[in-house]
């Protein structure tokens, strides 16, 4: 039986209640997680899905990349791995398969089927993807030469079977990662988060005597889809093209994104045909991840207000030819796929600037630079630390771009005092670069200069993932481009030396790593 809610007020109330329960789950995750990526940088998402794996609601705090991904993952799990009849109450599924999950191995998906209180049937799924602190392999970044160097692969498995933890899986993970208690601690925090969500859902199911979630889900998704389609219908039909140059390795292998956006009535199709082939560096992206980062800016442009669920994505389709950098195949290395995913909004917006000029923003001096470092402190303890650095934000119609602000991903920086406490470094500078944002009627935001010195007696391993060292954030409608970024090392004797913009390097004792983050583009011609 499908529960239908004819009363618009019941529907309003139940919908809010569902959002509230995934938020409860999110707060459980954030407070029990170990990795700074999850807790401080909130690099996760929790989604409640119906029995078909369609997303109904997502946590208010979520990283955009994970949004479309969870329903995709659950649908594949149902179809190819764990059909409903093999799932039992108390089962919890795990995988980090990049093609099913979020495009690289550190992102671990935990999915818990939700049984009706009388245990007879599955009424839905709750899923949580979070960035694990470590998954083994080479240090997270663009440096791996293939998929197999990027650490442990966890195929879709039952992490917990009928309430019993699968010790074999735990032992394999434990033996393959750098900080096992952190990685396992985060996985268990994800399990706990799902449980919290289910617990609150059960209360609601009992209160309203729900047999399933599908009727409710259909209504929520349909209402959202209608609103999204209406918003798209208001934009002019047409075929809008853009070409976007990215750094690639910032040397011999640049990357080009060809983007064709077709608005046809109430739907949008994005086609990346003509984009660069798979890249030798680990910056290749997979289709579901590319879909998430393409649909995300489209939602922001057309209907930022409506709640996010399956319905917001239905009017959007995305295509990228197999074997291109946006639809990479095994064994392509994927580690730093974020630098590619995180700039897809730019070609999409550049194309859409022809259709809805007042609704797009100039390019951001992003993607966020992810700059992990690891090594051994003088007292012998090992450490891994992640630095996230944002460039300037793009100018908007009516508003300048703020300095140093993440887009489209959303991770907080690590405070200088915390960084110096956790790693043997001395930070010399964290400062805006005045004038690095492109000028314009609404100028782009400034980037920043960040430099630190290795103050230990041993070399530090660094993994650089930069972008816009060679290219620039575009300005729109006469606004200037943002200033390029730069990365280099100052040696002990004060000389400037090369360090790869993407890849692994060693920072010797007393050497200084200098990073200059790019500025955002300006919007409109300066008067």
């Amino acid at each position: 039986m499908k529960n239908k809610f004819t009363d618009p007020i019941d529907l309003s109330i139940l919908w809010n209640r569902l959002i509230s329960l995934v938020d409860e789950a999110a707060s459980t995750l954030q407070q029990t997680a170990f990795s700074s990526v999850t807790r401080e940088s909130a690099d996760f998402a929790i989604v409640l899905m119906d029995s078909k794996g369609q997303s109904m609601v997502q946590s208010s705090i979520s990283v955009p990349s994970f949004l479309g991904v969870l329903p995709f993952l659950v649908k594949s799990l149902i179809k190819n791995y764990f059909p409903q009849e093999v799932l039992k109450p108390g089962d919890v599924l795990i995988t980090n398969d990049p093609w099913l999950c979020a495009g690289h191995k550190p992102d671990i998906g935990i999915v818990t089927p939700i049984f009706h209180p009388n245990q007879t049937h599955i009424i839905g799924y709750i899923g949580c993807i979070a960035h694990s602190p470590d998954i083994g392999g080479t240090l997270w970044g663009a440096g791996a030469r293939d998929f197999y160097e990027e650490g442990l692969y966890i195929p879709p498995l039952k992490l917990i079977e009928s309430g019993k933890l699968n010790d074999t899986v735990i032992k394999i993970i434990e033996g393959n990662v750098r900080a096992p208690y952190q990685t396992l601690g985060d996985i268990m925090a994800q399990v706990a988060a799902n449980n919290q969500g289910i617990q609150s859902l059960m209360q609601l199911v009992n209160e309203y005597g729900l047999e399933d979630l599908d009727g409710l889900s259909d209504q929520i998704i349909q209402a959202t889809e209608n609103a999204m389609r209406q918003a798209i219908r208001n934009a002019p039909d047409g075929v809008y093209k853009s070409r976007y140059e990215a750094d690639g390795d910032a040397e011999n292998h640049p990357v080009t994104i060809e983007c064709t956006v077709t608005i046809n009535g109430d739907s949008i199709h994005v086609d990346y045909t003509g984009s660069s082939p798979q890249h030798p560096l680990a910056i290749n992206a997979v289709m579901n991840y590319v879909f998430a980062y393409t649909a995300y800016p489209i939602k922001c442009i057309f209907n930022p207000e409506i709640p996010n669920n399956e319905g917001a994505f239905r009017p959007v389709t995305v295509y990228a030819p197999e074997g291109c950098i946006l639809n990479a195949k095994k064994p392509a290395p994927l580690g730093a796929r974020n630098v590619i995913g995180n700039l897809l909004h730019a070609p999409v917006m550049l194309a859409l600037s022809q259709a809805v000029p007042e609704k797009v923003q100039a390019d951001c001096g992003a993607p966020v630079w992810v700059m992990p470092l690891s090594g051994t402190k003088d007292d012998g303890t090992e450490f891994v630390e992640y630095l996230f650095l944002a460039g300037g934000y793009g100018g908007r119609n009516g508003l300048p771009g703020p300095p140093t602000l993440c887009f489209p991903t959303n991770v907080a920086n690590v405070p200088v005092e915390v960084f110096e406490h956790d790693a043997p470094v001395l930070v010399l500078e964290k400062k805006l670069i005045p004038g690095s944002g492109g000028s314009g009627k609404f100028p782009g935001g400034d980037g920043q200069r960040f430099s630190y010195k290795n103050i230990s007696k041993r070399p530090l391993q660094i993994s650089n993932v930069t972008e816009k060292i060679k290219t620039q954030a575009y300005g729109l409608f006469g606004g200037e481009h943002g200033r390029k970024g730069d990365i280099f090392v100052i040696t002990k004797d004060g000389k400037r030396r090369y360090t790869p913009p993407k890849g692994i390097d060693y920072l010797q004792p007393d050497e200084i790593l200098v990073m200059e983050l790019p500025g955002g583009g300006g919007y409109g011609k300066a008067e």
């Binding site: 109330i13 707060s27 300095p403 920086n413």
Partner: protein, 699 residues
């Protein structure tokens, strides 16, 4: 000190509330007057004069005045603080502007970030450095500071914030600079981060210190003037201020650290809840306060307010977490959502009914005020449902118009949704209740606690109207409605304790804690705190010490607040601390992590005196009306029922009333549904029990 007569004054955005307490008899006289702008002083004095006249006493008689104010909050929100300069470690001048680089709203492309309180031209770096171990790498050069001050003075700066890296570990450089400024430039205000908020994380420390500097001249002048004016009008008693964590501080202390006043009003409400928790011997309560524009909820556990250090001021988007300026001071841990009597209801593009977060506020106000408001609000719905009395709003001071309310609901809600006006009104009532219950539930679950465990205590103008249903939605075991619902904050001031808090940030693994250092630090705090409290009139016999620590598993970034044993500490204390941490962690997260290192991050030492008043208070209102005022049609269980309406002031002790019923008082109306049973106690406090606790909540 046991004053016999004390006066609480709460200056809010719209109203200035007053409460005069005769401590020996417990007699409480209340007053309410409009807040005056830009200077609230005339409003305060007119309120005092009215109240004194009512009580038949002179200004020389009260032995103390306790004050709470929105002045500091407003100065930050409206950017009306003083021109402020920032001196910081060279190379880090822009930390204040860079912030944490994260967006508070992931879908809004047109996001705006809060502007820093100090612009680039007034932020200066000096050559100095202390490392993460607290060791000096480069000492500051005082000549450089002199030059910077000259430049700041040319810019018209009157207040200076000093924030240097790692000063929470080693404050010597900040102190050196502070002493230099205070000695050589006595006309400048100077806030040092090591004095304001000695905690790790440079952006958060800068944000709080700069905010303190920014509001200090304004707050100092205001508090000085007020206290001078009170003195010259004949007031002879002590003058204290309510801080954000529900403690009383001297005006002098408040002038030094005015950011402590950011939440002084809301803290008063919670402290009133704490008082009732003690009086009624119900240690755990959910305090629920619903006013005209917002609703607030906070937990009281073991008759103590819950404190958080995650506060933010002046949010860019009012109810959006992360959109404000962080201020990690101790603040009563409350959630605030856009749900009040004035919250506007509408049908959104998805065809759903939404309520708030925006409010029709007092101008034009809800449609039923008849001041030109056309949109339906929560108050309009409550009126249509028969919960409110058209002719007894604010005790009859204000007439409401039911037709206008029904009209607004009809055209904006009922018609678009194709339902009847009463269904629509009931929908508004339900949706706003759901919003509040959802927010409260997330708040409680975040702490690892069970919402079903907490009885609710409700106040604020709209609180008692909605509390019944909110309590049912949370499956609360009961509901308590004290009197004086409309001015409870001012009363809360009178039942709070004078206190001072010290913090000490030191990241240490618990198996290698430096006990000598901790003991010495605690001893120093104790001495300083005692001197302060005795100076503020506290009784040495009743001084109370509390130590707590923010702790975590090494590697986690989120600390939990753990109560600690009293010093002196010795080698065995480490085991106790571990156990206390694990108990707390287990309770909050349902598990502990075997074999992980545990570390301390920030120690907090709280020293407090006794509250001035702990006996039973009773509001005295000469009303003279009958107990049963009559009957009116009110909406319960899907239909209008002829419902008895009682006069709260005439209810005698031990009365029992069965729901559905309505109980009216001046500042609010208590609505009790069909499954409620009301018991009136000696102090005219209403205790509502739910007869059936598992009834479907949507009826």
């Amino acid at each position: 000190m046991n004053p016999k007569l004390i006066l609480g004054i709460d200056v809010g955005g719209t109203f200035t509330d007053l409460a005069l307490l005769f401590a020996e008899s417990g007699r409480l006289i209340l007053g309410k007057t409009l807040t005056t702008y830009p200077d609230p002083t005339p409003g305060i004095f007119s309120g005092i004069n009215d109240l004194l006249q009512k009580a038949g006493i002179s200004i020389s008689e009260p032995e103390g005045i306790i004050h709470g104010t929105t002045l500091v909050t407003n100065a930050v929100i409206e950017r009306k603080g003083e021109k402020t300069g920032l001196i910081t470690t060279k190379g880090f001048e822009d930390i204040l502007e860079i912030g944490r680089e994260i967006r508070y709203d992931i879908y809004d492309l047109f996001i705006s970030m809060p502007q820093p309180l100090v612009p680039t031209s007034k932020r200066f770096g000096i050559t100095e450095r202390i490392n993460a171990k607290g060791e000096v790498i480069t000492a500051p050069d005082l000549d450089e500071i002199r030059k910077i001050i000259t430049e700041l003075e040319t810019e018209g700066v009157r207040s200076v914030a000093v924030v240097l890296l790692h000063s929470y570990l080693n404050p010597s450089h900040e102190k050196q600079i502070g002493n230099f400024i205070r000695r050589n430039y006595p006309h400048l205000y100077c806030s040092l981060s090591c004095e304001i908020i000695p905690e790790i994380r440079e952006y958060e420390r800068s944000s709080a210190t700069v905010m303190n500097a920014y509001v200090q001249p304004v707050a100092d002048m205001y508090l000085n003037n007020l206290s001078e004016n009170l003195k010259s009008s004949g007031f002879k008693g002590f003058f204290q201020v309510m801080n954000s964590s529900g403690r009383l501080i001297t005006a002098e202390q408040a002038s030094k650290k005015p950011i402590d006043l950011l939440e002084s009003g809301p803290a008063g409400g919670c402290m009133a809840g704490v008082y009732f928790s003690k009086k009624l011997s119900i240690p755990d309560l959910l305090a629920f306060d619903m006013g005209g524009t917002t609703a607030k909820a906070s937990l009281i556990r073991e008759s103590e307010p819950q404190i958080t250090y995650q506060f933010e001021a002046a949010r860019e988007k009012r109810f959006k977490k992360g959109s404000g300026l962080p201020v990690r001071i101790p603040v009563i841990d409350l959630i605030e959502i856009g749900a009040g009597g004035g919250s506007v209801a509408r049908v959104n593009e998805l065809g759903l009914l939404t309520v708030g977060p925006d409010s029709a506020s007092s101008q034009p106000g809800p449609a039923c005020y008849g001041n030109g408001g056309i949109y339906p609000t929560v108050t309009d719905a409550d009126l249509v449902l028969g919960y409110l009395n058209e002719s007894y709003f604010l005790g009859g001071k204000m007439k409401l118009c039911k037709e206008k309310a029904a009209e607004a609901i009809e055209s904006f809600i009922a018609k678009p949704l194709g339902i009847s006006v009463e269904k629509a009104a009931w929908g508004i009532h339900r949706v706003v209740n759901e919003n509040m219950a959802n927010a409260a539930r997330v708040h409680i679950i975040e702490k690892g606690l069970n919402p079903k465990h907490f009885k609710m205590i409700a106040f604020g103008g709209a609180g008692p109207v909605h509390a019944y249903h909110v309590a049912r939605l949370l499956h609360a075991p009961g509901l308590i409605i004290p009197g004086a619902a409309g001015v409870l904050s001012a009363f809360g001031f009178l039942v709070s304790q004078p206190a001072i808090e010290f913090t000490y940030s030191k990241v240490q693994k618990i198996d290698c804690l430096d006990f000598n250092d901790l003991n010495e630090t605690f001893e120093k705090f104790k001495k300083e705190g005692m001197a302060y409290l005795l100076g503020a009139g506290a009784d040495e016999k009743y001084l109370h010490f509390k130590i707590s620590c923010e702790m975590r598993y090494a590697g986690q970034g989120h600390e939990i607040h753990v109560p600690m044993p009293l010093p002196p500490y010795h080698n065995k204390t480490g085991d106790d601390i571990k156990m206390l941490f694990e108990n707390q962690y287990q309770q909050k997260f349902g598990r502990i992590m075997q074999g992980h290192n545990i570390e301390t991050v920030t120690w907090r030492v709280l020293i407090s005196g006794n509250p001035f008043f702990q006996q039973t208070a009773r509001v005295v209102v000469e009303d003279g009306g009958a107990v049963l005022k009559g009957y009116r049609m009110a909406y319960f269980k899907g239909q209008y029922i002829n419902t008895p309406v009682y006069n709260r002031y005439a209810l005698s002790a031990n009365t029992i009333l069965k729901g559905p019923c309505i109980i009216e008082e001046h500042e609010s109306t208590v609505v009790v549904g069909c499954e409620g049973e009301v018991f009136v106690d000696e102090a005219n406090i209403l205790h509502i029990q739910f007869v059936k606790n598992d009834e479907p909540v949507n009826s």
